[in-house]
């Protein structure tokens, strides 16, 4: 149990522990790996996209609780979404963290990160899996798909 001011809400711990979507896709149309060079967090996201929608998603996440919980939220919620929808969620999540906006529509569980608003250095931990997902989706839309994971450092936020 913890109070509402605590960064480590039970929901975050539960999502991180559940690790929804953790693993590897045998067939992926998009694949991206992002690092946070400042702390060593690393997320690899694979997606299988058909007709513009995510049919399957998997991630391998090495990182803190916030990073793992965000990746797990993606694993639980991203299937069925399209690239524009994911981009809107990622933008909305960033706005929630930086500007105090409400949690992204349709992803109420992301309100578990609201206490992270007070800790700017941790925003990138939450956003890293979403940026990796966006990179994987961009890969997926490229012609001649089936690319390997690319090593990319996440830009500072």
């Amino acid at each position: 149990m913890n109070d509402s001011n605590s960064l480590y809400q039970d929901a975050i711990k539960q999502f991180a522990q559940a690790a929804h979507g953790h693993g590897h896709l045998a067939e992926a149309s998009g694949d991206a790996k992002l690092d946070n060079p400042l702390c060593g967090d690393r997320v690899r996201v694979q997606v299988d996209v058909a007709s513009g929608r995510i049919m399957a998603v998997a991630h391998e996440t090495k990182g803190c609780l916030l990073c793992r919980a965000a990746a797990s939220a993606i694993g639980a919620r991203a299937v069925g979404q399209d690239e524009a929808g994911i981009e809107a969620v990622a933008d909305s999540l960033e706005s929630m963290l930086k500007n105090g906006a409400p949690a992204p529509a349709g992803w109420p569980e992301l309100s578990m990160f609201e206490p992270a608003r007070n800790f700017p250095s941790r925003h990138r931990c939450v956003l890293l899996p979403f940026r990796a997902l966006m990179a994987a989706l961009r890969n997926s839309s490229l012609p001649h798909r089936k690319v390997g994971a690319g090593d990319t450092a996440m830009p500072s936020t």
Binding site: N2, S6, L7, Y8, K13, L38, C39, G40, D41, K62, G63, C64, L65, L66, F119, R122, C125
Partner: protein, 404 residues
Amino acid sequence: MSMAPASLRDEFPLLAATPQLHYLDSAATSQIHRLALDAVVRHETTRRANVSRGTYRLAEAADLAYEQARQTAARFLNATSADEVIFTSGATASLNLVAHSFGSALKAGDRVVISVAEHHSNFVPWQMLRERTGIELAVIPVTASGQLDLTSLPELIDSRCRLVAVTQCSNVTGAWTDVATLVAAARKVGAKVLLDGAQAVQHGPQNVRALGIDFYAFSGHKCFGPGGVGVLWGRGELLAAMPPFLTGGGMIGEVTAEATTWAAPPQRFEAGTPPIAQAVGLAAALEWMMSLDWPQIHAREARLCELLIEGLRRVPGLRLLGPEASARLAPIVSFEIAGLHPHDICQVLDAHQLALRGGHHCAQPLMAALGAEVCTRASIALYNDEADIEALLDGLDFVLRELA
């Protein structure tokens, strides 16, 4: 002069203003001493002018303060001459200066020897030099506990070796380097020795002549001075033979449309306006350090370090990284706790007024050798006391409860 530890904390404005804070991140940045801060303010409010360019009295006062700061740094290092002291922006800039300037005389097949224990700032410049010139870069391995494995020296430091560039003290494990053995091996083959003193300087004045080395680099912000200033010391005859790294104003002999000649060291290596007030502040910090009873401080730091290690050994799931306490150590203690990420650990500790750093500490090759990607680090300085250690051990209890 001997000072009671309780009064030391009061001499640091930030610590004096935040008595509840347990600052255990001095390996990243030490707190600034009041005398250093005062010296910066005094300089900026009474002597602020550019150096080496003016004949008016204010500029001459700035010149004098800056050159006195150089002399202070030379005394802190026991250098032969103040002309061997170059002010830079920090240890990273100092190390890059050597890699570019001394490195420019190296050629394909020459060898530079570093170690696995280096901070990235003494790793990457040499990798870049290898790309530019084709030098060989040899890396001294570390033992399982992170100490330099000197059994490899005969094969690494051979006739091809031109420079041995190693840390004086690990920023992750606190392990001190056996400099004498390295210097002896380098001298046998005519190689030079560069010490990265970034972690060592906050633990007392240095003696570059007794160490027998050729270059020494450190940062002001890690020895109770301001940020934005550092020092490269180099043997006079070596500096005299080295070309400039950065070019611009202040480092020339004469510029014509056809060619430029260089000023003598140290000005040759201080292109542009140097960090004048910061150098003056650093000198105040170094003067203060030279007034302290270091054997007493070392004994105290060692006692605190031992107390911390003893307490950490009782934390369930905690693994200490680095040598056993019996080895010669700076008071830097790194650890990992099974299942917990250092960022989460540090975040919870912060809520209990504890400032520690988690991550790879810009030493990824060493972390890999220690079998960890990231870790949590507590670093102790002369203003820490038993209360800081007790608070950390209590804080880790909270960590285990909060993150379980």
